[in-house]
Every structure is written in structure tokens, then in C-alpha cells.
């Protein structure tokens, strides 16, 4: 792929990839690094891209693998306290970009952070990105029934977290 074409490709696709990674890892700096890594991998593996899926889905799949690898390593490091390359400090405050999206968004963002990874991913895909059940199932490579089930459970869990935090008012129903 030519350099200029790749830069154009980055400019058009990177925001969506960044947002997906950001909601998955909840850390701006880390999300930027993973976005960079995703595009680097895409550049390297462009020959293997079979055009069976849209370029956006292909990129998001690379990003997803990176995120899951990150959590896998994190789990392993908990057991094996070995030195690792880079440690990202948790974002304790809700990023200003999230706050700008509207009233009470910090509460929702913090509740989303507390969801387990598979539920959080379903909410990101179905509710934030607005994918259909079929599209989400294709991306996650699972059945549509599983996506429906996970969405239902994830939303119930999210509501429970909000209620436990004392936010059971009308705006979160």
C-alpha cells in the first residue's frame, strides 16, 4: 500500500478504531498506542486482507485481538510479577472528551467501566456503535442468540451498577 493512500486510510478510519479501543481499555494514552499498533499491523498484513469483510471490520478485528492480548497478559502478570514494557496508569478521572458528550455521561462511563469485558464489548458494539444483532454476531464470530442474550444481560448488569451507585432516576431507565 502506498504511503499517501495509507495516511488517507488512517485519517478516515482511525477515529472509529480509537473509540472502540478506548471504551474497551478505558485509557486514552493506551487507546492511542493500540490504535497505532492496529494500523501498523494492518500496514504489515495488508497483503493478507481478503476483502471478505469491510476494511473497517478487518481493522476492528485486529484491534480486538490487541485488546484481548493485553487483558490476557495483564491476567498473567498478576500471577507472574515479572517486569513488563510499559504500564499505563488507570485514568482515575473521566476524560474531558466523554464529559463533553452530555449531562451525567461521567456516571454512565464509570458504570460501563465496571462491566465485565464480554458485556462491555456487547454494549459498545450494539448500543454505542449501533451495530445490528447480525453484524455484532459476525464480528464476534458467535451466534445471534448469544449476542441477544449477552446484550440483555449486559444491560441488566449496567442498570444494576447504576442503581447501586444511587443513580436510579428516570434518565438512566
Amino acid at each position: 500500500m502506498e504511503r499517501d493512500a495509507f495516511q488517507t486510510f488512517y485519517m478516515s478510519q482511525s477515529d472509529a478504531i480509537f473509540k472502540y479501543i478506548f471504551f474497551m481499555v478505558n485509557n486514552k494514552e493506551q487507546a492511542e498506542d493500540f490504535t497505532q499498533e492496529t494500523f501498523f499491523k494492518a500496514y504489515k498484513q495488508f497483503e493478507t486482507f481478503r476483502h471478505e469483510a469491510a476494511a473497517h471490520t478487518w481493522l476492528k478485528r485486529i484491534a480486538r485481538n490487541l485488546v484481548y492480548d493485553h487483558y490476557r497478559k495483564k491476567r498473567l502478570i498478576k500471577f507472574l510479577p515479572l517486569g513488563h514494557k510499559k504500564d499505563y496508569a488507570d485514568d482515575t478521572q473521566t476524560p474531558s472528551e466523554v464529559l463533553e458528550t452530555g449531562e451525567n455521561m461521567a456516571i454512565l462511563y464509570e458504570a460501563l467501566k465496571k462491566l465485565k469485558l464480554s458485556y462491555r464489548e456487547t454494549v459498545i458494539l450494539r448500543k454505542i456503535e449501533g451495530l445490528t444483532v447480525k453484524e455484532a454476531a459476525q464480528f464476534l464470530q458467535c451466534s445471534e442468540a448469544k449476542v441477544k442474550n449477552n446484550t440483555f444481560r449486559a444491560m441488566a448488569a449496567l442498570k444494576k451498577i447504576l442503581q447501586e451507585g444511587g443513580h436510579s432516576d428516570e434518565s438512566f431507565r
Partner: protein, 336 residues
């Protein structure tokens, strides 16, 4: 749409910092520039790996040809047969049970049960009878070797790490002649009794029902049947795609065939020339054949199937490998 859904949708309008976006692009450009340029053809490390394995097998083959197949040198602790008395308490006896393969030049018993054709006996009653008979041997000068038939090669082990290595011949009248492999002297029974012959023959008969061969053939049968049924079940239940033979790459097929031929030649070679065959060598050859098969299946699946099918294939291959190793361990534990 609920309020919660609306709020979640609003999160998608989040703006990414343009400064951070450009910084990431800059870092990405640097990373691309500093990374080594990819060569046109993708390197497959697997080919040299498979060839190296085949090469190792060839080396074993050649070493065996040049170094010979016999291990006649007596290890430390081996005693001359004239020191054997009826007082000696035998702990075990290893004997080679492959009459057609015994010859005068080589000694084929090994002090381990991990050899096909080598059996072990630890029955105290039988050992006591053998010990009583062996203690009464007298030396004999043998002049006519033509009339002697090879009967068995044995290793006797007694307390205190003492060991005797004997070659037994028969003169055709159930009378046995013993050759001490350490001193190369010959012995016969003092009173010409056939008791040793009867006891030893009974021991061989018992050993055939519990020797390595007894487990090895069922092991092979169970392994191949299991592999066949597992594939059938996986294809049916998990929609595992079958790999059509003709769809494989020619290069892959050649390497796979080459490795299998090498393994086949080694396998036949060991059976024909290298007696007794060590179980571990056999299992190594089997492992090489199996991994050769699985590796190219996996490679095909990786190149031609989607991630979901690959995952199923990975599971199928992993199950096969785990079961194969479990069976190997079980076999070794049973035998050893």
C-alpha cells in the same frame, strides 16, 4: 428507545483529540519507516523445521549403519559364569524372545523392558528353579558349531548389581549349551537335565502374554481407530471442514510425503536390522509422522479457513495430540 440507550448512543459522538490523532500518525509513520522491509515471498520457517526433523532421522539411520547394530560389549558389573552358584538369588531375568532374529555374532538381550522382543521375568519361584539349574553348569569344549541352533539371549541380574550375559543354543535334542558372553566359554548342564529347558520355555510362554508386543499392537489399533472416529465426530458435530487431498499445495504434499517416506524407511530398517527395537525410538518415529500430518492440516486450515473453523480445527488437533501423549505415557508406564 430507552433513556439509557439514548445516553449510550451519545457516547459515540465523543470527539477524539486531533492533536493526539496527528501525533499517533507521526509515530506510526516512524514505526513503518524503521521496520524492516518485508520480502516479497513469505518465509515459512516450517519447511526447514520439517526437513531438519527428516534429516535427524536420516542421521540416526546412517549412524546405525556405520556403527553396527550390535551392542555386545559387556557393561560394568558383569560376572563370569563360573562364579554363578546355586546360592545366588536372582532378582530378574531379561530374555530376547525373537528366535528367528538371533544369530551367533550378536547379543540381543537388553536390561530394559522398553524393547520390543525383550521380556522381563521377576517371578521368584521360576527364578529360583533357573538359579538352581544354572549353578550346576560345567564347562564344555565345543568343536562343532554347525549342529547348534540359536535359542535365546539372556541377562541375569542378582543382588549387589551383579549381572551375567548368556547366549543359549540348542543341539536339537532339547539339550542346551550356554555361552558366557564375557569370557566366551561354553557350558552345559552337569547331569544333562531338561528342567531348565522346560522352566525357561514356560517362562517365555507366560511372557508373551504380558510383554511389550502384547500391548503395542492394541496400542496401534486403538490409536488409529480413535483418530478415525474423532475426525468423524468432529466433522459431524462441529461442521469441521474436511481437507480435500488435491487442494493442498504441491510443496506441502511433497514435504509431507518425503517425511513420511523417510519415517517409513527408518521404521522398516529398525524392524529388519536393529533388533531389539527400542520403544522410545518407535514412538519418536510415530510422533514425527503424526506431527507431520497434523502440522500440514493446521497449515492448510490457517491458509484456507476462517477464524471460527480454525478454532475448531485447533481444538481437534489439540485433542489428538493430548490423547496421543496420554496413550504414550500409559504404554510406557504399563511396560516399565
Amino acid at each position: 428507545m430507552s433513556h439509557l440507550d439514548e445516553k449510550l448512543q451519545r457516547l459515540s459522538t465523543m470527539k477524539r483529540s486531533q492533536k493526539a490523532k496527528m501525533q499517533t500518525l507521526e509515530k506510526l509513520t516512524e514505526q513503518i519507516d524503521s521496520s524492516p522491509k518485508q520480502s516479497k515471498g513469505k518465509t515459512h520457517w516450517q519447511y526447514p523445521f520439517v526437513l531438519a526433523s527428516a534429516f535427524v532421522v536420516c542421521i540416526i539411520l546412517l549412524l546405525t549403519i556405520f556403527n553396527g547394530t550390535d551392542q555386545t560389549a559387556a557393561p560394568r558389573g558383569t560376572q563370569p559364569l563360573e562364579d554363578f552358584t546355586t546360592e545366588i538369588k536372582l532378582e530378574r531375568i531379561y530374555y530376547f524372545d525373537g528366535f528367528l532374529s538371533i544369530d551367533k555374532e550378536s547379543f540381543k538381550a537388553r536390561s530394559s523392558s522398553l524393547y520390543l522382543d525383550v521380556s522381563k521375568n521377576e517371578n521368584p519361584q521360576q527364578l529360583e528353579t533357573l538359579s538352581q539349574n544354572l549353578g550346576q553348569l560345567k564347562e564344555e569344549h565345543i568343536t562343532r558349531f554347525e549342529s547348534l541352533y540359536n535359542f535365546s539371549d539372556i541377562i541375569l541380574q542378582a543382588e549387589g548389581h551383579r549381572e551375567w550375559r548368556l547366549k543359549i543354543y540348542s543341539n536339537g535334542n532339547d539339550e542346551l549349551i550356554f555361552q558366557d558372553m564375557l569370557t566366551n566359554r561354553y557350558f552345559v548342564m552337569e547331569d544333562g537335565t531338561n528342567e531348565f529347558y522346560d522352566e525357561f520355555y514356560a517362562m517365555i510362554r507366560d511372557g508373551r502374554q504380558s510383554g511389550l508386543k502384547f500391548y503395542f499392537i492394541p496400542f496401534l489399533l486403538v490409536l488409529s481407530l480413535f483418530s478415525h472416529f474423532l475426525k468423524k465426530i468432529m466433522i459431524k458435530k462441529c461442521q469441521l471442514p474436511e481437507i480435500p487431498k488435491l487442494q493442498r499445495k504441491t510443496g506441502d504434499r511433497i514435504i509431507k510425503l518425503f517425511t513420511n517416506i523417510i519415517c517409513c524407511i527408518t521404521f522398516s530398517f529398525f524392524f529388519v536390522y536393529y533388533h531389539p527395537v527400542n520403544l522410545l525410538i518407535l514412538l519418536s518415529i510415530f510422533t514425527l509422522v503424526l506431527f507431520n500430518e497434523l502440522f500440514f492440516d493446521w497449515k492448510f486450515s490457517k491458509e484456507n479457513h476462517n477464524i471460527l473453523e480454525q478454532r475448531k480445527y485447533k481444538l481437534f488437533l489439540s485433542i489428538q495430540i493430548v490423547i496421543y501423549f496420554l496413550m504414550n505415557i500409559t504404554l510406557i508406564v504399563i511396560v516399565y
